[in-house]
């Protein structure tokens, strides 16, 4: 561990009110759920933050996956990837979310890490975020000033930047009732290995008469919906035409995990794979 942990301050709130008060009163507070991202940064001394808020005392409030009577699903801020992956309603209605939770790290990570943390962390390579984008997820943001609902697709404003204010916490992911049948959905993660890999490219997509969704990770500074390509497909564009448009919607880069050229090639292959799969199931 390269970071001197003796220099770090940690608050561990016992109630939601206390957590929100700390968010309002203590500047530069980084909230942590399971810690699976933050401890990696600390190990490598990559992150300058000195003040943390460990939310583990709020598990009774926020560790849940809840199927609501109105057909929506709520995923609490402290629900883990495993909680989501093994939840019967998620399995039945949101298969892309199950698949993406399944390929996030390994079991040990899935038992600690959380989809809400995946969003808050803001990595463009986040594995569950493309799935949540396909399902039109909304986020509940809470502060002492009140609560607001933000579309996940409008949440990110740039590389690891988002619309949250410093006094807010994400308390829940809300998924509307599903628009797509399982056979109309597709998830693909391309990494170095099958397990314990960080994505070179990650994709979640769905298509039916109700619409088209194409969501990507590791192809831009944030996870993205390819809205223009979606619109073109909805208007009858074929795979080649869709690729022409998608190319202009993505901005892959060379980094430690892959190259822009490889990512572009993989993005094209995944798009074609997705469209072929759907053509064969219709």
């Amino acid at each position: 561990m390269k970071t001197n942990v003796a220099e770090l301050q940690v608050c561990s709130p016992r109630s939601i009110d206390e957590a929100l008060q700390q968010r309002r009163d203590i500047p530069g507070l980084t909230p942590i759920a399971g810690g699976t991202e933050v401890l990696v940064w600390l190990n490598d001394a990559k992150f300058a933050g000195k003040t943390y808020q460990s939310l583990h005392g709020l598990a009774k409030d926020w560790r849940y996956v809840r199927a609501n009577k109105d057909g929506t699903l709520g995923i609490g801020a402290l629900a883990t990837y495993s909680d989501v992956r093994f939840h019967p309603v998620v399995k039945e209605r949101y298969p892309l979310l199950v698949e993406s939770a399944r390929v996030t790290g390994a079991l040990q990570i899935q038992n600690r890490g959380t989809p809400v943390g995946n969003i808050a962390n803001g990595s463009p390579a986040a594995d569950t975020v493309p799935s949540l984008l396909v399902y039109d997820a909304k986020l509940k943001l809470k502060s002492l000033r009140g609560e607001r609902l933000v579309d996940l697709k409008d949440f990110f404003t740039g590389y690891r930047r988002n619309v949250m204010t410093s006094d807010e916490l994400i308390t829940e992911i809300v998924l509307p009732p599903p628009l797509f049948m399982p056979a109309q959905q597709h998830y693909r993660k391309v990494g170095t290995r099958e397990a314990q890999a960080i994505s070179k490219v990650v994709f979640a997509g769905a298509r039916s008469a109700a619409g088209v969704r194409l969501a990507w990770g590791s192809l831009a500074p944030t996870t993205i919906r390819a809205l223009k390509t979606e619109a073109a497909l909805q208007n009858g564009a074929d795979a080649n035409a869709a690729w022409e448009i998608l190319q202009r919607e993505i901005a892959p880069i060379d980094d430690i995990r892959s190259t822009a050229e490889y990512r572009r090639k993989v993005a094209r292959n995944i798009l074609f794979e997705f469209l072929n799969k759907l053509a064969n199931t219709l």
Partner: protein
């Protein structure tokens, strides 16, 4: 500033004085006199530090010790009885499931958890152990050991 953090380690109450963001791994090895859990990569990639926390498999290098307050922690030290190894330990011994030994405590904890909760790895042993890397690449014998562990257990061997 250090905090007083109490948890149960292999059934015994322990109290450590530790910085709250210190990984549980360090608290186990340095403060709780339980160095059986190994440091591999320190960043959740290799699984050498795997322990069972409140009946869930975790990487102890990624758990801030403050989050272990009040928890039930199980490590390699807690598996064997006075004179009998746990079935998974015995099976690793018989099957040559350990080479250099660094991954072994974590690998065994993942194996123990899998035998308790097979439903958590629908893909079976390869999935249950996918978070644990063996730098000697001795996976074949590790998989053999997991089969053997099931045999030992069904023959009435120790393991829970």
């Amino acid at each position: 500033m250090k905090q007083t953090i109490s948890f149960t380690l292999n059934g015994n109450s322990v109290t450590v004085e530790s910085h709250p963001m210190q990984p549980l791994l360090y608290a186990l090895r340095e403060d709780a006199d339980a160095p059986g859990t190994k440091y591999g990569c320190g960043e959740g990639e290799c699984g050498a530090c795997t322990v069972i926390l409140n009946d869930e498999l975790v990487m102890s290098c990624l758990v801030p010790v403050v989050q272990a307050e009040g928890a039930r922690v199980e490590t390699i030290e807690g598996l064997a009885n006075a004179d009998e190894l746990h079935a998974v330990q015995q099976a690793f011994l018989e099957s040559g499931g350990a080479q250099c030994g660094i991954c072994t405590p974590g690998m065994i904890m993942a194996g123990v958890h899998h035998l308790r909760h097979p439903e958590r790895a629908p893909g079976g042993v390869p999935e249950a152990l996918e978070g644990n890397l063996c730098r000697c690449t001795g996976y074949t014998r590790i998989f053999t050991a997991m089969k053997r562990a099931k045999e030992i257990l069904s023959a009435g061997g120790t393991g829970s």
